[in-house]
């Protein structure tokens, strides 16, 4: 998936000289996850450069640059480190268009690796998507595979509003079904790991059905898509797995159609439970599909604790926990 991200950036830098990349260690070195490798060499230090370690500064500078007329695509080294820039993101980037009656805009993309699964402890594992979803004026995208990552990142950069682009770091090197004790499958063995070199884009706000099923709808995104698929396989339950791809704007139509068909719903994410994006999804399903529901909707999420180091896999909502939920929702009257 790293290559897909790199290819999206490469394509966009080639097509549009307004695309500028900066962030901590993204220049000469090419980023701690190597997503920007080779870009400084190819496009010069004025278009891809290292920044001081100051997330508020990175986002604030990007806002000014976007208002000038550029299309900055900045990297926050880990999503866990966006908090110092949260004011600039939520009170500034998200508000420029509204405040100025679209006289000024902030077309910018903020990439950040998200989620756990690499023994990163509480400050390299967080999934803060709900904190963006609650704030009006931000779009939030979370791809689950290289093909989508490239197409969605290109769409994000081309979008005329600020977009948060969360890259599930556990997926950088291959799809991940939640069984951390099994060997890693590389992307080369997955059909969605096949990424065309050229420009293409995938519209924001559209979910994808990853697995069709008749009995229960599973709403997931990022890493959890594979966990959901695995849980369906392992339990033998005929689950329909929806990959949201975009958290906001969300694709209510796809969700609603599926739940109306299945009558049951399980929601999974890695973030802490309370007020997570799962609570919004559960509310949407409750509001829109109430009369179709045959059982209470279930959330399977990270616990309401920091992401611990040693117990990463007990914290992670793996296939066993998702499988339990699937069984439970099927057993309910």
């Amino acid at each position: 998936m790293i290559k897909a991200v790199n290819s999206a950036l490469d394509n966009m830098m080639a097509r549009d000289e307004k695309v500028v990349i900066f962030g901590e260690d993204v220049g000469y070195f090419g980023g701690v996850f190597r997503c920007t490798e080779g870009l400084q060499e190819k496009y010069g230090a004025q278009r891809c450069f290292d920044s001081p370690i100051n997330e508020s500064g990175i986002i604030g500078a990007a806002i000014g640059m976007a208002a000038y007329g550029m299309r900055p695509c900045v990297e926050i080294q880990f999503a866990d480190y966006m908090y110092p820039g949260y004011d600039q993101l939520t009170q500034e980037a998200a508000r420029i268009r509204y405040r100025s009656d679209h006289d000024f805009t902030a077309p910018m993309t903020v990439r950040m690796p998200t989620g756990g699964g690499i023994f990163g402890g509480q400050t390299h594992s967080q999934s803060p998507e709900a904190l963006f979803a609650h704030v009006s004026g931000l779009k939030t995208v979370i791809p689950s595979n290289p093909y989508d990552a490239k197409g969605l990142l290109i769409a994000s950069i081309e979008d005329n509003d600020p977009v948060i682009f969360l890259e599930p770091k556990r997926l950088y090197n291959g799809p991940f079904d939640g069984h951390h004790d099994r060997p890693i499958t590389p992307w080369s063995k997955h059909e969605l790991g096949d990424v065309p070199e050229d420009y293409y884009s995938i519209p924001l706000g559209k979910a994808a059905i990853r697995r069709e099923g008749a009995d229960v709808t599973v709403l997931a995104y990022g890493t959890m898509v594979y966990v959901a698929e695995t849980a369906a396989e392992e339990t033998g339950i005929d689950a329909e797995v929806i990959d949201l791809r975009t958290i906001l704007p969300y694709d209510l139509e796809t969700i609603q159609t599926s739940v109306e068909k299945t009558g049951r719903c399980v929601i999974v994410h890695e973030a802490t439970k309370t007020c997570g994006f799962g609570s919004e999804l559960m509310s949407l399903v409750q509001e829109n599909c109430f009369y179709h529901l045959e059982a209470p909707i279930i959330r399977v999420t990270g616990y309401d604790t920091p992401y611990p180091h040693a117990h990463e896999w007990e914290y992670f909502p793996g296939p066993a926990r998702v499988g339990e939920a699937l069984k439970k929702v099927m057993e309910a009257a």
Partner: protein, 410 residues
Amino acid sequence: MSETEPLSLYVPEPEFRPGDTPDYSDVKIAAAGEVDRPALNAKADDIRELAYPIIRVLNRDGKAVGPWADMLSAEELREGLRDMLKVRAFDARMQMAQRQGKTSFYMQCLGEEAIATAFRKALKPGDMNFPTYRQQGLLIADDYPIVEMMNQIYSNGADPLKGRQLPIMYSSKKHGFFTISGNLATQFIQAVGWAMGSAIAGDTKIAAGWIGDGSTAESDFHSALVFASCYRAPVVLNIVNNQWAISTFQGIARGKAATFASRGLGFGIPSLRVDGNDYLAVYAVSKWAIDRARQGLGPTLIEHVTYRAGAHSTSDDPSAYRPKEESDAWPLGDPVERLKTHLIGLGEWSEERHTQTKAEIESKIVQAQKEAESHGTLHDGDKPLVRDMFEDVFEVTPPHLLAQRQEAGY
């Protein structure tokens, strides 16, 4: 003090509180003409000392003296005077309009008029300001329509910002005035980012950031210095030190521990202080910094030293925390009076012309106000469409927000 004596917390206090008689006679201020004017490309290390004294052009007699003088023609000075008078008259009317309940809130810049008006004149079209709420002078000196400003203040049917923003939070790309934020200091680093954009694009436009003395304590002030220094951004970073941040004096933001200008020293940014109540000095120093930026010589930090003569906003009553007489005792005088005296001394102005000009300006402001009020005030007359409340959150309103708008019936 020995090692075993108990520690205690030092809490800075202003010299004067209500009841005290303010006395600034022991404050040392450089005489007009005293401070050097370095070459544009002077090395930051060589002009560190400029971060301390105050650059002044007009002396006590209203004469322009020293190396920073003689940059403006008599006509330009008269225009400056008119700009300041306009700002002052506008402020007075809007202050009153708020008291009359025509809007919810107002913020004047009484005593600080020279800074924004003179700075604006040193810029070129296309340059961009990232202002705070006290730089209405930037718009007025650039001939932004007074009626539009009032429409915004009234949140009326003709409000260019459709009632979305608090009064005085103007926005105008055309006039190089970035949309004002309610959150302090955020715009300072944005100005740097805009300037970086201009540099990357190979443009010739420069940016100007604005911040108050109190707000220099905010973190984004630091971000701005770090980024401006790092990329030698073509930006002028203006600190307006008007001595007060609501009820909090500049000592809490550390304006006396060292000057605000000296914050630039730790980043190798040339840093100057200027008498903010001296139109000529503000212009000269601003021009120096703007020229540096435009010639690719990088950022400059300017501390404009002034005094907030009025209340912080219409929600504030300064008599609760500072002596009423402090404003008059303030040693740098009134910018309008000082420029007027200078022009009269030059033989380019007179008491009569002044009185007449003031009256003309006031009547124009009254006229503008009538026109604005014909489009409504906050609680009366025309209003922006409620439907517009749902627009411009995104370029294309997404389904969930459309649904909310429809549910709301708009």
